[in-house]
Structures are given as C-alpha cells and as structure tokens.
Symmetry: C2
Subunit: 420 residues, 2 copies
C-alpha cells in the first residue's frame, strides 16, 4: 500500500496536469496535445521533478533508489504505451480500409521516399564528418522512422482525421514502420559485428508484411462475417470487450515481430471500423481514450531534458541533424505527392516529421552496442524531441490557413447532452 | 520497444484470460469474478508462469532478473490498483449518500464489531500458542481489515449492489478500514520498538475521520452546486474527465493518509452519485471498468501459491486462523445485525470476510520489521487468499437461495442495442 501511495500521487498529477493544460490550450484555440507535451516537460524529472521520485517504501522494495526509479519509469511507460495503443486503435476505428486502399499507392510512395531521403542525408552528413560507417548507419536509421502518434492526435484534435492527407499519412506510417524495422535489424546486425544475411532480412520482412496483409484481409473479413455473433456472448459489452482484446493482441504481436505496437493497434481499429456504428464502439472506446491517452503525451514530454543543450558543438550538430530530418521527410513526401496542392504536400511532409520514441529506440540500441557515443546519442535525443514538438503548431497552422473557422470543438462528445 | 514487447504480451494474456474465464463462469451462472480469480491462479508465477517473466531486454535494463521481475510486478500491481479504484468509484456512483447514512449506525456497528472479534480471536490464539506479544498483535491486526473490492464486485455481478445489505457492507468497510489503519499504526509503532503516543494515534485518527467526513459533506455540496458549471469547460467530456480526476485525487489522498486508496475512490463515486444521471457518468465509466477491473482480480489470483501448503503444521495453523477470521466477522456482524433476518445477517457476515491485499500488507510490514517469522507470514497469506476465494460462491448461494430466478445478466449494458 505504501509503495502505491507515491504511484497514485504521480498518476493523479499526470492526469490532472494533462487535462488542465489541455483545457488552457483549447481556450487558446491550440490543440490540447501541445499543452500535454509542455506540461509533461514541466513536471518531468528534468524540470520540476514532480513525478517519478520513488518514496522510501519503494526504494526498500528495490534495494536502491536507481532501480526504484527505473521501475516507476517502466510503470509510467506502460501506461503511456497503453495510451498510444488506444489512440491508434481509435484512429483505426475512424478509418475505412477502402479509403486507405484508395490512397495506397500514394501512401506507399510517401512512406518509401520519406525513409530514403532522411536516411541518405543522415548517412552522408556523418560520413562527411569522418565518423565510423557503423555510427553513420545508426544515426541515419534513427532519422527515418515516423512516430505517428503525435500526428494522429493533432489531426484528431483538429477534426480532420478523415481528410485525404490524414489517410495518406496513416498508410505511409505503416509502410514507414515496416521499412524502419528492417533497417534497424540490418544495422543492429552490423553493429553486433556479425552482419545479417539477406535471408534473415527476407524472413523479417515477410513476417511484417505478412502480418499487415493477413490482418487487413482476413481480419476485416472475419469481422464482417462474425461480428454479429458477438451478441451471443454472455459477457456484458461483448463487442467492446472483444475489440479491446483484439487491440491488445495485435499490439502484442506487432511488438513481438519488432514492429511498433501501435501498428497492430491501428490494424485492430481498421478491422472493427466496419462494425463500429452497429456496436457503438467509438463511444465506448472514448472514455478509455480520455483516461489513458494523456499519459502518452505527458510521459513523452517528461523525457525532454533541456540540460543537454549546454554544449555548443552538440547543439549545432543537433540543429543540423534536426533540419536534415525535417527536410528529408518534406522532400520525400513532396516528391511522392507531386500533383497534389501545395498545402497538401506541406501537410504530408509535416505529418511525417515527428520521430518521437522510435528515434530514441534506435539510438538506445546503438548506445547499448557501443557504436554510438554519448554526444551523438544526445544529438539523436534532441532531434527526436525537436521534431516531435515542432509538428503540432505547424500542422495546426497549415490546417487553419485553409479554413474560415477553426474546427473546435473537435473531440467526439460522449454524451449528446450536457457536455456540448 | 523490446522491453515493452513482454509487457504487452502479458497484458494481453491477463485481459483475454480474464474475459474468457468470465464468459465461461457467466455460462455456468456463477459470478465472472470467480473465473477471473481462478484464471489468475492458473497463469500466475506459482502455476503456469505465463505472466511476469521478464525478457532479456528487460533484464538488461534492470541489471538482474530479480529486479526486472519486481518491476514487472509493480507495473501489474499498479494496473490492478487502478482497476479496483475504478471498481469502487463505480460502486460509489451507484450509492446514494442518503441511503448510506440511513444505515449509518448499523454499518458503524458492523464495522466496529467486525474488527473487535477477529482481532480478539487472533490475539488470543497466538498468545495461547506462546508466541511473542508483538507477533500476536501483528497477526491479530492482519485478521481485521476487510478488502471490500471482492465483495463489491460479487454484489455488482449479482445485481444487488443497491440492496440494504450492500449499503451496510459498504458503510462498514469505510469504518473498518479506518480502524484497521489505526491498529496498523499502533502495532507498527510497537513493532519498531518505539511505541506510539496517544497523541499520534489521535492525529492519525482525526486525519482519516476528517477526510471521510469532509469529503462526504463538503464534496457532495460542492458537486451539487458546481457540477452544472462543468459544461462550461472547453475540454471534451468535461464531467467525466473531472470525475476521473477527483477519483484519482481522492484515491491518492486516502493512500497518503494511510487509508486504502479504494476508500478515496468510493468517496469520489459518492460525490458524483447525484449528478451521474445528468452527465451519464455510469455509461462513460463502464468501458474503463471493463478495461481495468479484470487486472485486479487476475493479479490477486496470481498471488496464490499452493506450494505453501506443503507443511502440515503450517496448513493446520492456517486452517485455524482462517476459521477464526471467518468466525470473527460473522459473529461481529451477527451481533451488530441483531433484529435483521437471518439471511441478511449471513450476507453481512460473509460480505465482510475477504481480507485480500489488506491482510497481506499488514503481514508484509510485520515481516519487514522482523516480528513475523516466515511460517507465520505464510499462514497470513493463506488466510487472506482463502477468505477471498471462499466469499464469491457463498454470497452467490445466499442471494440465489432467496430469489426465484438468478438475476443474470447483471452488468449495466453500455449500449441498449446489440449487446442485450
């Protein structure tokens, strides 16, 4: 009980701060997600330190303060991960697979070119600076993968998740994640000094692509045929419970295959998109969304450590890497989106920019293998955070510029009565 | 990402197993909670070991397997704690404070006598066996506190949460928890060898009683006056979000004061009980309930270690302690409930029996202070688990005996359409 006291206080602080900041930003006519990220920065261990400090009962349990901190961290990361899983499930629920397939070719091109350019830019920069090739490969890989959670949340906050640009971004994110996962497998093999055979890469690729195609084709078909039978189950709220089970299951399988768990959650949402109206799944998922999603954005914000900005050389390198990371995505998306209006190209480019946790994971693997030194690790961390923080206001401005009125209020209301 | 893979698989297993077991038990016309407890036993570390096994990435993060296991454990315990918090919030939401006050005197008597008898029985047994007095005091204290989560869930599953007996049990649980917390403070002080002054006990008591009375009186008044203003907030689903914030906040304060967090969550539910219909809070809380509550029961079940039953002396002592723990509550409730029908007395007695995690906490404190030896700790663990597992079928039988038909289906349906 005493171990939990500190955790419950932290959870209350995270939740209350997120909702308060969201309210303030809604009143400023900005997406709530910006407020949640900023408040996470403020209360995190690198600023006010209001959360993540173990109490003595917890330190006793783990034997030392560091392990207790890591354990608290794991707990909050898991809540955050559940939050972003629910977010992407919800986005999937709002996406028709037929709409996604209609933009499929375009989305695939955005995904592929959005990998090629940042990778090439990062690799060339570090080769020109004379770094070891393995290090260049790791940094380049850390620059490729889009973390689509941030973009998806902003697009939902803005009420444009069903736009053509949103669908292209979501489809591109799936392609992007598969390619980034393959790249990480290849460079990890090189970093371990043992290499990786073309056969191994082929197997990994086949698993990932097979998973996505199998879920998209067979899952939707199963859902269409059997979802009406869910009413025969005795458990209360059976369709919602089954949808949550599939969401957690596909997230776990995606994670197990080395993909981002949110890709599995998004696919789960797609599967249930056709039966969502019949079973009212959106209204039932929304409270879980309201409860869990803020943890992802506050915890993401809490990782920001402005203290890493104390060395001029690191800051300069980080600035160059960040600019290249942004330019790579914008150029890649721009080439892939030739023929679309300029604003759509800008939205696609901006939407693919956030690297979030994916860049951090690649950098962590490189650090644990000893091929990425501490200052380069800081550079990747700064790039990941900067690309994440810059996108919400840019996307908001891009959409606002094209509309007579801001589209607030935006979230799906749970009840049609008093909340409106 | 790789650290999360194992956690997500575990979370999927817990959720899917809980819902599957719940479905099976609903078809057997038994409360789903029994299935959840049993499936937790089956998949837990003491049986199949399907959950809680860290993978290599997690072990690397924590340096050794034991710390990684503890961290996983903390994460699942926190999900379980959030589950039981949501459960008691929901029960509070279904309880009118005026109904609770109407049975207030009876509830207080049940709470007090339900502490006195088990404490006396436990103390006398261990004194007669010749154990040190401090040890006797700890065991006696571990025998007093009711863990009302199990009972509340069974009563909800049976659809009788609004019965007179349920209200008495809920009110008695609040009184019981305050007294148990005071007892723990006193015996902990004695166990630390420094004692505790009457003034200190008075301060702790005043804080706890003050918290409950303040929340009950001022909270409900604030809620009545200001809840209609919640619609002025810009955030989506403001009443639900504010209710969740108050739930987490009061749970944290209760934990901070040494009370069970669920007492705070229950009070939060009471506060919003009057405005629940206006804001549709039950329908909005239900999906969060469906998502989180199973974690509490599966994790509780996973603590059961039948391996402790290998020593005949320990088993015999555990059996005696368990019988005294049950008899103490039944006699206490019986005396307090004189004048009520025999069935009501039996329900009150049975409803107060589960010790759940509260007995374990007292025993853990005693073990960490070195005043409870390993075999006596096992005895308390067995008593806690046995009293928890025995109650759901007994309560079900007591309610079934008095009704022409079983009251299934019982949970509040989320949608009025396809799930019925």
């Amino acid at each position: 009980m005493q171990e939990f006291a500190v955790v419950l206080v932290d959870i209350f602080i995270i939740f209350a701060a997120a909702k308060l900041a969201g309210e303030v930003f809604e009143r400023l006519r900005q997406p709530a997600v910006i407020g949640e990220l900023l408040v996470g920065m403020a209360i995190g261990p690198h600023a006010l330190g209001l959360i993540g400090q173990p109490n003595s009962a917890l330190i006793d349990l783990f034997g030392d303060a560091h392990a207790a901190e890591e354990a608290l961290d794991l707990t909050y990361e898991v809540l955050a991960e559940l939050g972003v899983i629910v977010l992407l499930f919800f986005v999937g629920l709002e996406t028709r697979i037929s709409d996604l397939l209609r933009v499929g070719r375009r989305a695939a091109t955005v995904g592929v070119l959005g990998i090629v350019f940042p990778f090439a830019f990062g690799f060339l920069l570090f080769e020109l600076l004379g770094n070891p090739t393995v290090e260049s490969l790791f940094v380049a890989t850390a620059m490729v993968a889009t973390s689509v959670g941030i973009t998806a949340r902003v697009l939902r906050d803005l009420g444009v998740i069903d736009s053509m640009e949103s669908r292209i971004i979501l489809g591109a994110a799936v392609v992007d994640d598969i390619l980034a996962m393959l790249l990480l497998a290849v460079v990890s093999g090189l970093g371990e000094g043992q290499g990786i055979s073309a056969l191994e890469v082929g197997v990994i690729a086949a698993q990932a692509v097979g998973f996505v195609i199998f879920v998209a084709l067979v899952g939707t078909r199963l859902s269409r045929h059997y979802s009406l039978h869910l009413a025969r189950l005795r458990m209360p709220d059976a369709p919602f419970v089954v949808a949550m089970t599939v969401m957690l299951g596909l997230a776990a399988v995606a994670g197990y295959l080395g993909l981002a768990a949110i890709i599995g959650a998004f696919m789960a949402g797609l599967i249930f998109a056709e039966s969502r109206e019949h079973f009212d799944l959106e209204h039932q998922t929304m409270p879980v969304y309201q409860f869990l999603v803020p943890f992802f954005f506050v915890v993401t914000g809490s990782h920001v450590d402005l203290g890493t900005l104390n060395d001029a050389g690191t800051v300069a390198l980080a600035a160059v890497v960040t600019v290249l990371a942004v330019a790579g995505k914008v150029i890649g998306a721009g080439l892939a989106a030739v023929g679309l209006p300029a604003r759509s190209i800008a939205i696609l480019g901006a939407g693919m920019v956030p690297r979030g946790e994916v860049g951090l994971i690649v950098a962590s693997v490189g650090r644990s293998l000893g091929v990425i030194p501490a200052d380069v690790f800081s550079v990747v961390v700064i790039m990941s955070i900067a690309t994440t923080l810059v996108v919400p206001p840019v996307l908001t401005a891009l959409y606002r510029g094209s509309r007579a009125r801001p589209p607030y209020p935006t979230d799906l209301p749970l009840s049609t009565g008093a909340t409106d």
